[in-house]
Symmetry: D2
Subunit: 347 residues, 4 copies
């Protein structure tokens, strides 16, 4: 039995992790730590879990909490993770962190985009970027895994096969992406109030969203050249779901759409959570909502000599919570797909 | 391994059954029968199931289909079920039917409200009303189970404890209920188009909805008196979810709210899918969406001498698909909760 | 030119009033007073009004503000209105107040349900209940009009014709009503966050909502007997719209549905904002969203001997903002329908 | 009094035109022609208009219908418009057509993208592209105006100032756009059913949407060079609203963001329906929903040397119905803003 603690458990990512693990017979969530709900049953915060996960929320006391589990998932704001994780690692715990704190190899990039001083720079080298499709082996033995951002997961996985295989240029990449509202977390800020958000669509973080350098880091590593992207996130009036439309310049003009499609299929061959759609079909967020799948479709715009890649995932699934569980499975030597194969909620 | 066929599989109820069973290791869906999608993979109709359930849809040929499974779930329109089910039963199959055709003990009531002549009256006596909390023993050995309607499940389960225990009068019961749009099925009718439904709320079927006599039948059986109810369904702009607000006249004025609450808890003691909320709390559809749970809360209006019962379920869960699976588990001697304990999707 | 000030202007009711009046050539909004946005242009708070109403928000200084207008609409929380309005009236201003503070004839009822001590009891007798269809003449000359609550407007107008004409009993009235989320105001409370509200349906304020005594007061005045109602409000995942389903016991059994329908048509004959739907049709909130209309439909449940009345309005329209403007028109001697005849937004 | 007929009146564009004109005192809708609802009151098709516009729908008999009005708006499918409009023009009527039939100067482009043979090629030269901000003078005297598509209006107006002023290159333009569901028209097709659309986001028409050549035509005319664009439309779960995010390559690097912003303000100086947002602000669809405004915001991505333009309109407003009325006002010599200045519906 794997004992797991979740720190920052009462946010949406934490709640989704609890939802996904509550019925597992090989994982036990032994502590849920929350700032705001100490002493309250988790199921009073999320009544959908009544009778399923009723444990009372613990306060954040590393010494106490660390004794309760061997693995920890931290779903804390950036800047806070660095104050909590060193203590856990010192006690020999293995940690998956969902903040931006340990996703960057270059601390300067992090500090520039996040506008903070990094609180635990010595851990940067230990951290593994938790995208199993790219770093599976490193995750197996890692003590600290940085759960990737939702936009980077969606974008990088959509672009990787074409970029890695020199189908497209690493220059002038445009990523236009859309997220459901849960991506903003469980916030009571006015801009996320129902009446402000419903029946509305908007762009945000134009030219300055923090997921930009994360995307660029991974794409650069993939192609061996420094990559910059034009990335624009948008907010759609739905709870879950993320869709990225990526505009890439074809450099190999001899490849037919079918050839490129084969490259995509080959690249992800054997990957249990990546579904390359048949040519002519494109993903929709409802195909993956509630699941750990990422669906990817491609189209070639021959007039413009561009490859259009559309990728879809659930920002609370492959974009955060279930991807963290995928990493947890790998770290713990459990079958990577355990508890994660459920289909999306078409409805 | 239990072999199951689903007839009328490509509607929303059928698709939800496939979603819930696709990963079970003790049940195999050996045939999905569809009028409209013969020869097409089920996952092309519901792409969320790509790679999870790709079997091709069969046409409805009873002789062929019957050879493929021992159990069948039929999710067909009323009037059609009666043309299909006799053939299945003759071949020794056990059937769960989701239409209204076999829910009524009195054929005249059925024919009056459904405005058709019943096509298989000889089977009425064999059919068991598939509400496990009321008919668990009969379901175990039944060859034909009538999966209850969503409104009746939601209303009857909310009212049963108070009515059975003579807390409230069987007279002048008002049931005001609300359904998500999936309750109408997978239809392309204009009234269910997004632009007609979104941001809209309406009543429908006032004083003549077909679930009325089904509710009355079960309440009458519970209290031993003929019960009539004033039942008004409404449509809310959401995909899943059902909530019934029941107005009942208190007859035993010595009972405190806490007493009545205890009666509710006792009535459903040990029931794995019924959650009686603490006094002071009321259910919301999001607590149960995507699950087989029904949540029930009560409030006493002392000024009006009324008991207000609010019950919530997922019309595609306990209101149809997962309730059918609960019956299937019981019929097959499998643990009744197998595959059904997942919490609702708070998000 | 009528000069109008709005105090509490940046809430949803205030913003709707500005939207409706901004283009009027006979009314000028000379001051918008806001606690939270002093010094900011109104159109920065509601960018839909950019270029249309850009005036800067004033702070609440009665002496200063009172000099700017002859009429005031106050959209303040209850308990706050009583601190502001006496000063305005002393200066000879005419006021329409949207709080609950001046809706009650019996101060004890107010204090019991609102759990506060009334701050200006001497004004109770001066206040006119601002439902033009019932109190048009009194509104004409009133110095203080209490804009009715949304639920009371919807319910009382639906029940009035039948109750006043002794078609139904004044006893055992059940009102089941549903509101869009804007009814809660422009709040950033977590329960009204998009992810908490979307795809969800719930009851609230069961047996204790403050609109209950307001409904009872007006129904009692209509029928001359003390009326109590069982009133349950619900929240639907939509921005605007309100629908009440009222269950009334028929006492005059000689009346056919057509007779009752005629009584409804006669009762509201000549009323510009009341639309009695043809027998067989029922209102939907989309018919009235964005408008000042209230649509009313009736159905008779002969089995239960009940009259079911369904009434729909926009909680920001006839339920608050545009009804206040209707009263303003009347008070100012302007054509009552001025600026208010626009149809609902079907889409 | 201007007499207007609407042919194809019961679609969403037609209904919005009726909504906007019904209360005008200078325009009378003398006939509403509908294929599907001949003989039925318009307000039975759109009950929001009950008591406001109850005229009965006429059948399409050009000889009869033409006698009823001097101006016509046709909201018909492409290919159908060409069969109706010649007859109207012959009788001296002036026509605004909302199909794609008369938007193209090059008939071959039309025939290639629309995959039909043009039915009235002799009228191409007479047709004026009905974007008042670009063709106001031509519209004044036109007998045939082609109401622009929603995506072209949104994109072209967003890009025009930068392209016309050589701020950006005419090459490698990427337009990523999102529409509300009403853009698909009043259809009962399954993909637009509530349960299929709600909580979902998807791309469609990738690399082959018919609005692509319309955008390219207008951009080419603006800059005097043949322009090709990479255009990808998406569907968001909302009724109204359109937002285009345009990625443009800066060619004049001496211009600061403030300079570019000034160029935008100058370009649209005096335009009553174009609102350039202050630097640092970006439009949201709710700012313009229900109105004839288009809001435009810009951001400069200095790292990528790109100008990001975000423009928002209501696909049923400036994207179709109210833009047609703007053209009608111009053609008829009425104040261009008559009846169109209402703000968007923030809620």
């Amino acid at each position: 039995m794997l004992n797991l603690g979740i720190i920052g458990a009462t946010g949406y990512v934490g709640a989704e992790i609890v939802r996904l693990l509550a019925l597992r017979d090989d994982v036990k969530i032994t502590t849920v730590v929350s700032n705001s709900f100490v002493g309250q049953p988790f199921s009073s915060v999320y009544p959908s879990l009544r009778g399923i996960y009723d444990k009372v929320c613990d306060k954040l006391d590393i010494d106490v909490v660390a004794q309760k589990a061997d693995f920890f998932i931290t779903a804390l704001p950036h800047g806070v993770s660095t104050t909590v994780i060193p203590g856990l690692l010192e006690k020999g715990k293995r940690v998956i962190d969902h903040s931006g704190d340990f996703r960057f190899r270059d601390i300067k990039t992090y500090e520039k985009w996040y506008k903070v001083t990094h609180g635990a720079p010595e851990l940067i080298d230990k951290a593994v970027y938790g995208l199993p499709e790219l770093y599976r082996d490193e995750i197996k033995t890692a003590s600290l895994v940085a759960d990737p951002g939702c936009y980077p997961t969606c974008s990088v996985m959509g672009i990787a096969p074409a970029l890695k295989n020199k189908v497209v240029s690493h220059q002038d990449i445009v990523i236009n992406a859309v997220s459901g509202v849960s991506g903003a977390g469980r916030k009571s800020d006015l801009p996320y109030a129902f009446c402000e958000t419903d029946e509305n669509f908007k762009a945000y973080g134009v030219a300055n969203h923090r997921h930009t350098p994360e995307i660029e880091q991974e794409l650069s590593l993939l192609c061996g050249e420094p990559v910059m992207v034009s990335f624009t996130p948008h907010l759609a009036p739905m709870k879950r779901g993320m869709l990225a439309t990526c505009y890439l310049n074809l450099i190999n003009q001899e490849l037919s759409p079918a050839d490129i499609h084969s490259i995509y299929e080959d690249y992800y061959k054997g990957e249990p959570f990546v579904r390359i759609l048949p040519l002519g079909q494109l993903p929709e967020t409802k195909y993956v909502a509630g699941s750990n799948y990422i669906d990817i479709g491609i189209a070639v715009d021959t007039r413009m000599n561009k490859l259009i890649v559309v990728s879809a995932l659930d920002n609370l699934g492959k974009g955060s919570a279930s991807q963290a569980i995928q990493a947890l499975n790998i770290m713990a030597g459990i079958d990577e797909t355990k508890g994660l194969l459920s289909p999306g909620l078409y409805l």
